[in-house]
Amino acid sequence: MTQAALPADSRLATAQPTRLVHQSPGTERLFAGTVKAMGLLVLALLGAIIVMLAVGAWPAFRTFGIGFFWNPVWDSVKDVYGAGIMVYGTLLSSVIALVLAVPLSIGVAYFLTEILAAPLRRPVGVVIQLLAAIPSIIYGMWGFFVLAPFLADHFILDVADLAAPVPGLNKVLDYGSGNSVFTAGLVLAVMILPLITAMFVEILGATPVVLKESVYGLGATRFEVIRHVAVPYGRRAMIGAVMLGLGRALGETMAVTFVIGNATRLSPNLFAQGSTIASTIANEFAEAGFGTMKLSALLGLGLTLFIISFIVLAASRALVAPRAVS
């Protein structure tokens, strides 16, 4: 801004570009080139990630074929691998998380925007945003030391007792352990709860006040205003927020690894130990030496996870995701 302080008359009189302009074509090109190079670097980075995962996973795909994506086999002894068990665990735990977290988030967001006393809304909103920033390993430890023992003592046996006489249901809710796919889903739900709630609060708060007031003026209740004005107004953004939460749950490693039991077998029982793609990679990587088939299979798992999370991102963009950070 120092140029603004220069005497203006001389420049006006000559009506020529300032000396600055003459000095700088080189700098201009350099700066423009540098920022563009950084943009291209980011493009190349993603390309490199995909290529590296694909190259690393190639031996596994060559040996096990395209069926690697869905074969439910993971046998380190026979050196036979497929992603089926982990894909199932990943999708199941994430679906459980969404089924639990989304209704709760809607309730909390409604409470924060409509019921809570106005002076408290901003502080509580900030607290929720802070909770969303807590490292996932903390959620994992809480799940492992607090939630899993609690579920084992007070929940799983009782539910399994209730479900036992019901054919079908007794396969899904069978006797199991505190560390299970269900527990993983529950921990994921608690983890994405602040994330989704914070976005819901922002979306509901973005409804134009005029729109809401005019409906209040017609005699609508709070619930009716939210249900018929705010939610339809922010529906696309809310779906995007849910998809963002889903993406976070699908790829989460630490919160899941602690509580899922890391068993590589397929079971319809929600209370059985299982594994997700991320938990398997975290858990078994140490056992896989350089250049082994197991390492290749783990990289294949990584590629599978990448494809799944890309599909979720593409779907959420199609539904117009909100631009939210953190």
């Binding site: 980011v42 993603l46 409604y110 807590i134 790829g251």
Partner: protein
């Protein structure tokens, strides 16, 4: 009052009750996490946690090497990520509006932003660990940088797009070349917001565990060599929490408390940076 009106009011009351119930349940769950963290972490948070390196069970170890390792890797990661993220974000905001490459870069940055962090760890493993045949602190730092870059790009672009066009035009009308408009007008106006983005990225990578598991691996001993396996607080917590020894588990809770306080402090700082600007 008509029956319909009574029913509508009843529905409203039921929904309010359910929402309050959801809020109480959710806050209760989250309070349980914070309570557990403080109740188990605080008693274990002794001076030696910060001054002594990790040790096997029964030998009164601390977390000093893990804390220092984390600081080193996070600092180097942010040093790598900041220029790349800020310049790429500037490119998207100032130079690539409407261009195909710009749209592609923005899309790719979004993919990176949503990519599971463990995949970034796998990627860095393949390019830096498998090639050098050793886990290393620098590999951990690079993994953290790759996670931070899309966060910085996103906030930089968003903050720059808030700078009024009139401000840029005023500078350009004075004859300032574009690079000066960008660096002296746009960057300065958006400075606080961009700083917030850097702080959020910092808070995010400081708590990351998964990408470090097979890049810097962890190290029981004091080591500041970037070419060797390096300890980090999240990985140390993970290893000790999963151990069967009560003293190590306690130390893990102390570490969990330290890292949570650190991450929350950075986030509060970020909130204040935004607040000051408003």
């Amino acid at each position: 009052m008509s029956a319909q009106s009574a029913r509508r009011k009843a529905t409203n009351a039921v929904v309010a009750t359910l929402a309050s119930g959801a809020a109480i349940l959710s806050l209760g769950l989250l309070a349980s996490i914070l309570f557990t963290l403080v109740a188990r972490g605080l008693p274990a948070l002794q001076w030696r946690v910060l001054t002594v390196s990790m040790a096997p069970t029964g030998e009164h170890g601390g977390l000093a090497n893990a804390i220092v390792g984390s600081l080193i890797q996070v600092a180097i990661g942010m040093l790598i990520a900041t220029p790349i993220g800020v310049l790429a974000g500037t490119y998207l905001s100032e130079y690539a509006r409407g261009s195909k490459i710009g749209d592609a870069t923005r899309f790719v940055s979004d993919i990176l932003l949503s990519a599971p962090s463990i995949l970034i760890g796998l990627f860095v493993y393949v390019i830096l660990v498998a090639t050098t045949k050793t886990y290393s602190g620098i590999a951990g730092a690079v993994a953290l940088a790759v996670i931070a870059i899309p966060i910085i790009i996103r906030t930089t672009e968003d903050m720059l797009s808030l700078v009024p066009v009139a401000l840029r035009e005023a500078a350009a009308a004075l004859g300032a070349p574009k690079w000066k408009v960008v660096t002296m007008i746009a960057w300065r106006s958006a400075g606080a917001g961009m700083l917030t983005g850097l702080l959020l990225a910092l808070a995010r990578v400081a708590g990351e565990t998964a990408p470090l598991l097979f890049t810097s691996l962890g190290n029981l001993n004091w080591s500041t060599s970037l070419a060797k396996p390096m300890a980090s607080l999240p990985v140390a917590i993970y290893q000790m929490a999963a151990s069967p020894y009560e003293d190590l588990v306690q130390l893990a809770w102390a570490g969990a408390l330290v890292i949570t306080l650190g991450v929350l402090a950075i986030n509060i700082l970020a909130q204040l940076t935004i607040g000051r600007r408003r």
